[in-house]
């Protein structure tokens, strides 16, 4: 049984994506995901107008 809610998420996401997370890697994967989600919150909490265009590169 997963020890942490994030472990449940890692298990589910790994299954959905077809990825293997061996037990020996789990702690490191979780630590990295925690960093990503913490930094992601910084982005998430910043309110932008609905009309804001993303900046990814594409020109027709």
């Amino acid at each position: 049984m997963a020890a942490d809610p994030l472990d449940d998420y890692i298990d589910s996401a790994a299954k959905a994506l077809g990825l293997t997370v061996e037990e020996a890697w789990r702690q490191s994967v979780r630590a990295n995901l925690e960093v990503s989600l913490r930094l992601g919150r910084l982005v998430d909490e910043f309110t932008l107008p609905d009309e804001t265009e993303p900046a990814s590169v594409y020109s027709a």
Partner: protein, 467 residues
Amino acid sequence: MAMTASSDGMSASDIALAVAARRLSAAEVTEAALARIRKHDGLLNAFTDVTAERARAKAREVDAAIAAGKNVGPLAGVPFAVKNLFDVKGLSTRAGSKINRDLPPAARDATLIERMEASGAVLVGALNMGEYAYDFTGENVHDGPSRNPHDPTRMSGGSSGGSGSAVGGGLVPLALGSDTNGSIRVPSSFCGIFGLKPTYGRLSRARSYPFVASLDHLGPFARNVRDLALAYDAMQGGDADDAACTTRPVEPVTAQLVQGVGGLKVAIAGGYFQNNLFPEAQEAVARVAGALGATETVVIPEAARARAAAYIITTTEGASLHLDRLRKRPRDFDPAVRDRLIAGAMVPAVLVDRAQKFRRWYRAKVLELFKSVDVILAPATPCVAPKLGQATFVLDGVELPVRANIGIHTQPISFIGLPVVAVPVPLEPMPIGVQVIAAPWREDIALRVAHALEKMGVAAAPGPRGI
């Protein structure tokens, strides 16, 4: 052997002049570079491939063309090397990985190698790097670390570690690397050399191994600004093989370096960029600012959030790039890179979209700053090169992870593709870099400022102190 020693320590521009005037042959210069590599690379571990026969053939071609009265270009006979994510015809493009060694040999050189050689330069090899460029240390579990030429017990910086080590160690006067979040500027800082991360889209990335398509840049390293500009000019120009490459006309800068900095308004990045700094980084910025008479401070808004957004885009685009390899060969990755990428694959897509939207907002805010200033100065790294394998450092009494903090001052700048010259401040015992940041497409301004700093003696690439 006197013949092969004559070009040791010469700048690229002096080599090119000497070769063009037939005071030196390209063959002699090439042999001297190969001899330096043989002598010092056992210690530095900068090179993963030495393309000696190719280099000798190219050198003979250059010498023959000069003997026939042809102008072979502004880099005649200049040895250079490239981070091993550039395609080199006949080599598998390993990009620092074990997995990519199974790729077939590249059928054609990267565009930037073709352009360097079209200007007379001579490729002598491919350089060590952090696995798949997801690295700030220059360490590599497959090839061993590239080492700092000023203290081989220290990091070269990543991910273009071999590029920093090779140029900082004087093995070659020019090298090419890539910079997604700081991978040109960090090794420049740690190894005490000049590095140019051009505007996003300025130089073609065609036939180089990608990392994060919306953040990847390529650029040169050198021991002086003139050489940096010569290489940059040689590589400019559009390229249909890179979807992000500009269609702007070529804008050569070498001839403009001597214009000086009169009339340019230079400011110091405040707030975020003055935090989390060791005294050496503060000293380096103060020296550069003092030399330029810069006293005004500007605050780049939301820089911490910009770094966060760059991190999110990097880890998710990187994960997408490597998803199949993560599925099929997870044990063949550097475990640290693998675990970062697996985590990146699990970041919700909504955060990535928000990061790309924030990027648009942030770009507009930073471009506002450039209406009133021409150049912004910021530290390139928070510290001098850490020891190889060092996991943490203590700053203001707080223990912080090294890897996660090396790029904190470079990421918010490359996030919106601003051109930057990393200039080395030759502090003792270890050098450290400062970012000279300009508005998009104004590499000329950043290079002029770097040149002026070099002329004032504030910025200089120290001779290798550790070999």
